[in-house]
Amino acid sequence: MGAAATIDRDTLLTLLLRLADDHLVLGHRLSEWCGHAPMLEEDLAMPNMALDLIGQARALYTYAADVEGKGRTEDDLAYLRLEREYLNCLLVERPNGDFAQTMLRQLYFAAFMEPFWKAAASSTDATVAGIAAKAVKEVAYHIRHAGEWVVRLGDGTEESRRRMEDAIEELAPYLDEIFEDDPVTVQASAAGIAPQPSSLRPAFDRIIGPIFAEAGLTFITPPYSQRGGRKGMHGEAMGFLLADLQHIQRTYPGATW
C-alpha cells in the first residue's frame, strides 16, 4: 500500500462485499453452535466471536451500501442477494463439523484477517481504516482463543489429536483461496485501500507456525485447492445456509424489523 492510484466504485464495492460476506457467513456458522457447545465457557466464547464478526459485517455492508449509492441498506445487502452474488471465500462457509474443525477454521480466518486489518488500519480510505482499527483488537482475541484450543486438542488425547488432524485435512483445500490476488485486490492495493492477500501469507505462517508447533501438529499442503467463492461459486451447503438466513426477509418483503 502507499501509492495513491484511484479505485473505481465497482471494484471498491466488490472488495467490501467480499469482506462483509466473509464475516457474515463465518458469524452465521459460529452462531449455529449457540446452546450446543462442549462447555458453558464456549457457549459464551462462540457467540462472542460471532458478535464481533457480525459487527464487522455490519460496518462493511453499511459502507458498501454507501459506496454503491443506490439506496440499499446493510440488510438489503446481507439478506437480499442471490447465492451467486455472495462473494465470501469457501473457507468460511464450510460446515461446522466438530469442535476441532470449527476452531481450526476460526484460527485460519483470524490469522489471515489479523495482518489484513493491521495493514488496512493505515488505509487511504478513512472508513476502511476505522473499521480496521476496531477489528484488529477483536481478531487478536480470536487468534488467542482458537489457537489455545488448537494447542489443547492437538496435544490433548489421542481422539482430540486425530480430530485435529482430520480438521487440518478437511480444511486444507480451502486455504489457498483466501490468499489469492486478482484485479480487485491489485487495484485496491495500488490505491492503498487494502493489502494484497498474497502479501499476508508470511504473517499468517508466523501466527500458525508456533501454534502448530506447540500443538505438535503438522501443516499439510493439499494436492488440490478449491476456489470459486470470490466469483459466487459456492459449495452445496451454502444454499441451505442462505435459506435460513433469508427466510424472514424473503417472506415479508419490505417490512421493518
Binding site: A37, M39, L40, L51, Y61, D75, L153, E159, L245, W257
Partner: protein
C-alpha cells in the same frame, strides 16, 4: 435450637450470610436447589432463543440476540459459581439437570414459533423473571444477592429490547402485527405461570420467606407483573388473551382470569411441548463435547507434568 435462633436473628437483622458462615442444612439445601434451578434456566433458556439466531430478520436484531444469548450463558456461569460456594460442583448440577432430576423454568418448554416470540420472550418472560429477581438482589445469602444484582441489570436491558421488538412489530405491516398478537396469545399465560403455584399451594414459600430467600409470595409477584405489563401491552395496541382481565379500582390492581393449573403441572412434570427436546439438546451437547473436555483436562495435565519436570531438572 440456639443455633437456629441465632441464625434467624442474623437474618432478621438483614445481615448477609456468607459462604463460610454456619447455616442450617435446610437453608443450604434450599439455596442450592433454587440457585441451581435458576442457573439451569439460563442455560436451557439459550435454546428457544438460539433457535432464531440464524434466522433473525436484520443484522441489528441478530447481533442483539447473539449478545442476549451470550449474557444468558454468563448468568448461568455466575449462578453456578454462587451455588458452588455452597459446596456443590457445576458438574454435579449439570449431571442432575441432564438426568432430569433438577428443574429449570418451565417456560422454556414452549417452542419459539415465529420471530415475534423473541420479542415476547424478552418482554414477558424476562419481565416476569425480573419481578422474581429484583427482590433476590436483597436475598439473605450474599453470593446469590450479588450475582442477582448483575443479572438484573442485564435482564432489564433484555426486557426493554424485547418490548422494542414487539413495538416494531405492532407498528409494522398487518402481518407483523398479527405475528405480535399471536406471540402474546401464546406466551401470556405461561408467563403468569412462571411465578409458580398459588400461595395456598406453594411448598417452599413460608420457610423461604422467613429466611429472606424470598421476599414476596408468588401471588404478590404475579400481581405486580400483571399490573406492570398490561398497560405496556395496551400501549402496543395488542389484546391480552384473557376476557376477565380488567382494572379493579377498588383493589388498585388488575383482576385476571383463572390460570390453567393442569397445564402448569403437566409442563412441570415433563409434558410440555419441548421438555423432551430441551433435555435431549443439552444431553447431546454434553455428550458430543465429552472428548473436548477430556482433551482440555489431558492437556492441562500434560502441561503441569512438563512444568514439574522442568522445575525438577532445574533444581
Amino acid at each position: 435450637e440456639a443455633f437456629l435462633a441465632a441464625f434467624q436473628a442474623r437474618i432478621d437483622a438483614e445481615e448477609k450470610i456468607e459462604p463460610n458462615d454456619p447455616m442450617p442444612e435446610g437453608y443450604r439445601r434450599t439455596l442450592i436447589r433454587q440457585i441451581g434451578q435458576h442457573a439451569h434456566s439460563e442455560i436451557v433458556g439459550m435454546l428457544p432463543e438460539g433457535n432464531w439466531i440464524t434466522r433473525a430478520p436484520s443484522l441489528r436484531r441478530k447481533a442483539a440476540l447473539l449478545a442476549k444469548v451470550q449474557d444468558e450463558g454468563g448468568h448461568g456461569l455466575y449462578l453456578y459459581s454462587a451455588a458452588e460456594t455452597l459446596g456443590v460442583s457445576r458438574e454435579q448440577m449439570t449431571e442432575e439437570l441432564l438426568a432430569g432430576k433438577a428443574k429449570y423454568s418451565s417456560i422454556f418448554n414452549y417452542p419459539t414459533l415465529t420471530w415475534a416470540d423473541i420479542g415476547a420472550i424478552g418482554w414477558l418472560v424476562d419481565g416476569a423473571a425480573i419481578m422474581n429477581q429484583i427482590p433476590l438482589c436483597r436475598c439473605s445469602y450474599g453470593p446469590y444477592a450479588r450475582a442477582m444484582i448483575r443479572v438484573c441489570k442485564e435482564e432489564s436491558f433484555h426486557q426493554r429490547q424485547g418490548y422494542e421488538i414487539m413495538m416494531t412489530l405492532a407498528q409494522g405491516t398487518p402481518g407483523q402485527k398479527e405475528m405480535a398478537q399471536d406471540a402474546l396469545n401464546r406466551w401470556w399465560w405461561p408467563s403468569l405461570m412462571m411465578f409458580g403455584p398459588h400461595d395456598s399451594d406453594s411448598q417452599h414459600g413460608d420457610q423461604s420467606m422467613r429466611w429472606k430467600i424470598k421476599r414476596f409470595t408468588n401471588d404478590e409477584l404475579r400481581q405486580k407483573f400483571v399490573d406492570a405489563t398490561v398497560p405496556q401491552g395496551e400501549y402496543l395496541g395488542l389484546t391480552f388473551p384473557d376476557p376477565e382481565l380488567k382494572w379493579n379500582d377498588e383493589r388498585g390492581a388488575y383482576d385476571f382470569g383463572a390460570i390453567d393449573w393442569d397445564e402448569f403441572w403437566r409442563v412441570v412434570k415433563g409434558g410440555g411441548p419441548m421438555n423432551r427436546e430441551r433435555l435431549a439438546a443439552r444431553r447431546k451437547a454434553w455428550d458430543d463435547g465429552a472428548w473436548v473436555r477430556e482433551a482440555a483436562l489431558a492437556h492441562a495435565e500434560k502441561r503441569r507434568a512438563r512444568r514439574e519436570a522442568t522445575k525438577l531438572a532445574a533444581e
